[in-house]
Symmetry: D2
Subunit: 349 residues, 4 copies
């Protein structure tokens, strides 16, 4: 193992509140406790593959002291993957050497960490991973920073929307992040007391949902809130039958929330509307929970560098931060298990 003097750090993939917490903790721990130099690499792997003038810059404790409550990532991000094109991985390794980077902390999701794992395996790069998934779907860790913030934002949205749904006697369908795993929708639907919550893991039964709202209407509650993951799909036959044409004669198609709203209106006769939370869920100051978790990740990642735990990734197991093999930790999507969804179904109605 080569001695570590200069540690590089990068963030890749979609941003998640808490990234700056990791960056801050790695920087402070490496500098203050271990005497390393720390350099920030801009725009994920892109900053090492095709470095521009600002791509590699020294980070000081003063640079990061008060970034804990900032959303996004001060290192910027990209989706560049050096294993997509022959020869790119070699370039990354060569540039690391040219910048004198002895060890690398790579913060990102499955894609970013997959690259990290291969760089370690293929070239012996001294690398430590830190998981980042706002969707909470990485199999190698119990949970991840960003998730709690996203659930909080979506929950607050459901809280707000409930009052307007009730006042106007409408059904409001709220589209929440989650293409393959329904974790954010699950959390927000539970915490935000949605009347129905739909996740990609379970096929929705539109007739049953319509019945539920009809029953609510019968007992005087002619309104409701539906939380639905963006990744939920319903059969194509539903889509065409309610298509509307705009002023140019084109069929107007929307996402799942819009489609679902139309279907529920048709089946229940209750006025329905939809909202898509979208990018609102990504940005902004992290919750206290995410600040703490990201800080603990960062501290442990710095320790892993000190210990030479190359090819490992920090992870939460119960209440502990541990390290696990990057290779084993990535590649699988963790979905919402049936028993948790059952908890939610208790409150449908």
């Amino acid at each position: 193992m080569a001695e570590v003097r200069r540690v590089g750090m990068l963030t890749g993939g979609g941003d998640a509140p808490g990234l700056n917490g990791v960056i801050r903790a790695v920087t402070v721990k490496c500098i203050e406790d271990y005497g390393y130099e720390v350099v920030g690499i801009k725009r994920g792997w892109k900053g090492l593959l095709a470095p521009e003038e600002d791509s590699v810059q020294k980070l000081t404790v003063d640079d990061v002291r008060y970034i804990l409550d900032e959303g996004g990532t001060v290192l910027l991000s990209s989706r560049t993957n050096p294993y997509k094109k022959e020869g790119d991985a070699e370039k990354v390794v060569k540039n690391m050497q040219e910048f004198g980077i002895d060890a690398l902390v790579a913060i990102g999701g499955d894609d970013t960490l997959g690259v990290a794992s291969r760089l370690h395996k293929d070239f012996g790069v001294q690398i430590v991973g830190c998981p980042k998934t706002i969707d909470n779907d990485l199999s190698g860790t119990d949970t991840c920073f960003g998730y709690d913030t996203a659930v909080s934002i979506a929950t607050e949205a459901l809280d707000r929307i409930r009052t307007t749904a009730r006042s106007h006697e409408r059904i409001l369908v709220v589209e929440i992040m989650g293409r393959h795993a329904g974790w954010i929708t699950y959390g927000a639907g539970l915490a935000g007391a949605a009347n129905v919550t739909l996740i990609p893991e379970v096929e929705p039964d539109l007739d049953a949902i319509a019945d539920l709202f009809k029953k609510r209407a019968e007992r005087g509650e002619k309104w409701g809130v539906v939380a639905v993951s963006e990744g939920v799909t319903i059969g194509e036959e539903y889509i065409t039958q309610t298509a509307e044409r705009d002023e140019f004669g084109h069929i107007r198609l929307g996402g799942i929330a819009e489609t679902l709203a139309k279907e529920l209106k048709e089946r229940t006769g209750i006025d329905t509307r939809h909202v898509v939370l979208g990018h609102l869920q990504r940005g902004g100051t992290p919750t206290a929970y995410d600040r703490i978790l990201s800080t603990r990740y960062g501290i442990r990642a710095a320790e892993a560098v000190k210990n030479g735990e190359w090819g490992k990734m920090v992870a939460l197991r119960g209440s502990d931060i541990v390290t696990v093999s990057l290779e084993e930790a990535t590649g699988e999507t963790r979905t919402v298990p049936e028993d948790l969804y059952d908890v939610l179904k208790t409150f449908f109605g």
Copy 2:
């Protein structure tokens, strides 16, 4: 003037945070200080035009004591207008008499208050109006409850979105309420430090906006946030040239934010996304400002009933709550004046 013993109250049109503040204040003041009985009428004019079993119910101080921080309206709302069909206004007047309602407090926007004004004029109904416009576009009052809350929500959204736009080096276009008047977008764009803010009052110059973002990119800020009112329009030629076809071959058309995002991407080469805040802006607990304003409105409305100021509407003038003629106060849309928009333009860039 007929003696007042029982006061009715209703809310009409779109809901706005603060409605419950008015309801609470009218109820408490009328009962505790004047000894009136107060009845709540459900679903706006609909509750008087076609009363159902639950349409007219007594309100007590205990019913309303702690509703000040609740969004929506405990009296529910509708867009029913008894002047749309011959004979309906008469039915409303007759039902008021049958329910023994001597005076009416009507809380709503231009439509609801227009009905109130005519009922007073045509039938001598003892009526007092309270303005409600989340859009801040009623000409009869300086501002109205609900507006501050809507601006606060949209501002927080812009705050959040800025960090993700910057981290991913994207332009994010945020669609904010306001079909005819740009007040909410104006307030949020200013408070949320949007790089560009577009309102219906001023035609947007897409080339100038694109230039602005190109200049930002040249100085290293390859990202930005645009706040745009839903009512902003751009020429049809823009729309067709960037149309995308979905998997069914249909042209996918969206609102102004989506269209604008595509146009800016084409003109700047910077990745762009959009978010539509929609119903998020309506619901939820009112800000302290809106709780205070709505309470002051409600107190003054009760005083107006006591004083027999029929055909009048409460209004804010400077720091004072006054009453103005319903007839004169309604019918005109107040838009964002040029000098205020100029303040905003100082910060474009």
Copy 3:
């Protein structure tokens, strides 16, 4: 085991955001899935020891459907302990029988659950416990609802206070809950980026803290924020030497924050002030995290009733909700371990 038809439920001790989440989940699950009747018992053990007219009341699904986002407890609370006076425990058991309560869900801290454990042991009462500790110091569970909310509130306070401390070049000392365990202060001090965080588990070194602030001042940062648990103690010699006399000649003594502020001022020459968060940390709407955890607790408690897991308590272990023996789970205070406090110390300065 006696068949269960009517389930009683009570909350004891200090309130914690999330109590209503447990109440709601137990009620809905017991009624909808198991067909039990559920009765709420007011004011903890007091409601069974000395029942008043309103002490035992039926709970319906409609009663609890929308209480998830409300702070406090709809069942009210008290600190009554029927094991403090001879014969009281027997009265509780007798009253349970008179009210026809076959099984009891007791939600509370060490004191409440200790009673539950003994009632089960001494009289065979069919009882299930649910832990509640805003202080996060119950040894039987990984964490508890209320804690995340308290940390969030205190973190937001530290965020706010930082800007005013910096603008006025002051040290601000913030007193946070925690008499015996420093968990809330630990979490908030970490998430709120306090310059120093003090917890009851570790004796503070005032000279070292003063030195830290002097060093900050030397590099131009003549300000700072200290997070301190209410339970932190410093030697009496400190107290007297800085005592001030008020206009009546009495010595003015305060809590730890006030005392610490005076000491730091004397040692550093920097203007210092203090704030005591106090009851602010208890109330208000729970975070999404606490809503989810409390709901999962409630569901599992209802299942425990169904399963006849008497004398057990629900608990979080890793990501799972399990049941553990009430007897073993209570009686020990869980404090902040040294390695976690070390994470925090990395950021002192």
Copy 4:
């Protein structure tokens, strides 16, 4: 009038959320629209009276673009008053000349603006004032930035505290800013639905307040929330009769909230507690309202510099930002008028 090339700006007195909004607007407007140079003066008048190395620094648009949502003041503040010591005012004027500052924007309260007024009158300094009073008690303007934020924070505190007061059947007394004028307490007490609100303008009747809580208790509401300004005083006889002695035998005296809590407990028999919000009310991100108002103030102040409106202060009148004479605008405290307090009293109970 000397031509303006370089504009200085300073902030004095207690900080108020929104100060950075003024600083940003003055800087951007002066540079972008008028081509002035802008320099920030650190620590109010102290920065001109006894300048240190960092006291006068150039401000660029980039320095201020994203400070709108930050609490505090990037220019720091002090309470230095150059009219307290002979010869100091002359030093300020001389230093202004040495720094080449042709015009000065002074942002502050009565004290800071009083100095500004005299410097203009005594030495012809080209000065424009901007009012800052979190207490809302400056007579020259309808309202001021910072006030809305302070009211919002205190309102949220009352919202939170209500749930814990109710759950524990306690009276909670909350001490809110306001030594001479009760504006913040007035706003928060109204918006936060306090059961009783006390302001310095009106002497409290403790027996009447106790009766109110006794009546509440009789109808089953054995709890309540009192909002009280720090400046409220009650007769000394109350204080001594409930004095408690600590473990050292010293009498323990607190502020008005603590004293009031003891008195109410003695008179009602209901458990009472108190909270002092203190510095919490000053810091943190400004509300959208305060961001907008402070921006409008800053723009108008820059215009006043351009127009040579020396010796004037920007002010809000109705919906308009105007300028008024500094001399006339300062020196008087604006208190809560009786009719506004009457609105509040309607809801006592």
